[in-house]
Each structure stands twice: as structure tokens, then as C-alpha cells.
């Protein structure tokens, strides 16, 4: 058995979203079982299956290298204030 990650997408602009995973012996049966396990109630209009072994997985320690640098976390407030000041002609 292989494990497949299941992605569903609604019609329109929504992106594909991870819906879960399933076990199946091969792609054909995986598609058939995915239909039953994940799309019986119109949860999606498109479906992707990805063999879990094909996923490139990042090392946890390599992620979020800047989480302790607050200046990297711009909430936009200062830029918004600058734009407002320019619009109102009060920018110094």
C-alpha cells in the first residue's frame, strides 16, 4: 500500500487545499477510493492525489529563520501612516 495526500479544489478562484490522506495499492484504485472518502458530498470539483514519497520535505530546523527578528514582521501600520500623510498633504 502507498499513502496518497488528497487535495481538493472548489470551482472558481479557490486554491487546491489539503483534504487528508488515504492508503491504496496504486493510482487507479487511489482515485476510486478518494472519490468515496473525500468527495461524496460535493466537497470539491477537482481532485489531486500526490504520492507521499514524492513530496520534498524541509527540515524543521531550517524553517522560520527570522522568527526572532521583529523588524521582519511588518504589519503595514507605518506604511499606511505614510500613505495617509502623503494623501492629506501633512507629510513632513
Amino acid at each position: 500500500m502507498k499513502t496518497y495526500e488528497v487535495f481538493l479544489k472548489k470551482a472558481g478562484k479557490d486554491e487546491f487545499r489539503h483534504a487528508g490522506a488515504l492508503d491504496a495499492p496504486d493510482p487507479d484504485l487511489a482515485l476510486l477510493l478518494a472519490r468515496e472518502c473525500y468527495s461524496r458530498r460535493g466537497e470539491g470539483d477537482e481532485l489531486w492525489l500526490v504520492d507521499r514519497t514524492d513530496i520534498v520535505v524541509a527540515a524543521v530546523e531550517d524553517l522560520a529563520p527570522n522568527h526572532d527578528k521583529p523588524h521582519r514582521h511588518n504589519d503595514g501600520a507605518r506604511v499606511a501612516a505614510r500613505r495617509r500623510a502623503t494623501r492629506e498633504g501633512t507629510r513632513s
Partner: protein, 254 residues
């Protein structure tokens, strides 16, 4: 009455088959060989019960749940028109799988036989059902393709299940005793007779068994079901189980 009299016996036979096979399939809830298959098989069971309900509603000309329950569950054994293949218990997964394949192969042909029916409700229902049937049949074939010949145990168990179930196939093509099938064909309710459709089924079973390398004789006769008027040995126990909760309080409203 929506349905013309010529259609009623055939519709009741199909409805009872869908009901009984669906009920048998539901015995596998929680017991499927792996989670995904458990969900898929029970979903197929639900589809078959859905087909039965739609047909009972046509027969009754109402969608009232109590009326549908009454027709589906409260008849005497002799008044059912299901075939033995649909009624048969399948306590081994191999038997359940083989029955699923034999039955759905037939079911697909039977609904195709209703496409273009002179009874518009049957034509419409058949077109809707066939979208599900393509999946049911694909499911049965894919699982058997992968299990037949995979290991000696799988092949032995599936072959034993085929030997047990193949003799029940002719009874599936036994038209209901209280109908006049030739009249139904003449009126365009169905396109072809059970014998003709059953012949196609036989050819399809033969071709598939040959692909799987299974050498078993196909039966041309099995246990006499006398136009679907005789119930199989396990029917009474199943029927009692289906009525167990209603019998506690037949007047209860749900």
C-alpha cells in the same frame, strides 16, 4: 398511479434486489479490509438502498417514508421478488466482493435496459443511476483484478466464492412470476427481455473469468426460484433483523 401496470412487477423485482443487496452490503460497515475500502463499500451499499427507495417511491407514487418502509420491510416473505444472489449472505469478504461484481455487472445491464423506457420516470432514474453504476462496476473490477491471482489464498477464496455464487446467477434473470415480460417489452417499458440481457451478462462473466484465468463452469440453471417467489434459506433471518427495531414499536414516528 404513475407506473403503468406492465412496469410494476419488473420494478418491484429490481427494487427488492437493490434493497436486499444493499442491506447485505451494509453488514460490512466497520469490517472492511481497510478503512478506505470500508468507506467505499458502505457507500456503494448506500447507493443501492437509494436506488431501492427511488423505485419503491415510484411504485407507491409517494415519497412518504412510512409508506416506503411498509413496502420495503413489512411484506410477507413470499411477496418479495428479490433474487437469491441479492439475498445471499456474504460473511466472507471474498464472497461479498464476488457477489458485488456479479450483481453490479447485472445491475448495470438492467438499468441500461431501462434507458429510453416508455415510462419516463424509469428512463430518468436509469440515467441518474448509471452514473453511479459505472463507479460500482469499476470498483468491483479493480479490486478483483488486483486480488485474483495475487496470492494462493486470495485466489482460492475468490474461486470458492465464485463456485458458490455462479449457480445463483440464472435466478437473477428469472422474471417475476406475476408479470408478463413480453408485454412489458412490447410496451417499451424495457428494451429487451431478461433472457436477452442475461445472455449479455453471461458473455461478460465468461470473458472476465477467462481474463482472470478462472476455469469454472457457468450454470444454466440453479436453485429453482419460481419467478422470484421462493426465498433463499437465509432470507427469514435477514428480514427479521431488518424489522427488529420497527417491531419494538411499529407505531413509532421517527
Amino acid at each position: 398511479m404513475t407506473l403503468q401496470p406492465a412496469a410494476r412487477p419488473l420494478v418491484l423485482a429490481l427494487a427488492d434486489d437493490e434493497h436486499l443487496v444493499g442491506a447485505r452490503h451494509t453488514n460490512w460497515i466497520g469490517l472492511g479490509p481497510f478503512l478506505e475500502e470500508d468507506l467505499a463499500f458502505c457507500s456503494i451499499a448506500q447507493d443501492e438502498l437509494g436506488h431501492a427507495i427511488a423505485l419503491y417511491q415510484l411504485l407507491l407514487d409517494t415519497d412518504d417514508g412510512a409508506a416506503v418502509d411498509g413496502l420495503a420491510l413489512r411484506r410477507d416473505d413470499a411477496d418479495y421478488r428479490s433474487c437469491w444472489l441479492a439475498e445471499w449472505p456474504a460473511d466472507d469478504w471474498a464472497t461479498a466482493l464476488v457477489r458485488h461484481w456479479l450483481y453490479d455487472l447485472a445491475e448495470d445491464l438492467r438499468w441500461r435496459n431501462l434507458v429510453g423506457s416508455s415510462q419516463p420516470e424509469l428512463d430518468a432514474l436509469a440515467r441518474r443511476v448509471l452514473r453511479e453504476e459505472a463507479f460500482h462496476l469499476g470498483h468491483a473490477r479493480q479490486l478483483l483484478d488486483r486480488t485474483m491471482g495475487s496470492t494462493a489464498e486470495a485466489t482460492d477464496r475468490l474461486t470458492a466464492a465464485l463456485a458458490e455464487l455462479l449457480p445463483l446467477v440464472p435466478g437473477l434473470w428469472d422474471p417475476p412470476a406475476d408479470g408478463d415480460e413480453a408485454d412489458a417489452v412490447a410496451r417499451g417499458v424495457v428494451a429487451r427481455s431478461s433472457a436477452e440481457v442475461g445472455h449479455d451478462h453471461r458473455l461478460a462473466v465468461e470473458a472476465q473469468l477467462s481474463d482472470w484465468g478462472v476455469r469454472l463452469p457457468l450454470s444454466s440453471s440453479g436453485p429453482a426460484q419460481h419467478g422470484r417467489t421462493v426465498r433463499s434459506p437465509g432470507f427469514a433471518v435477514l428480514h427479521a433483523a431488518l424489522n427488529e427495531v420497527i417491531d419494538l414499536d411499529p407505531a413509532a414516528r421517527w
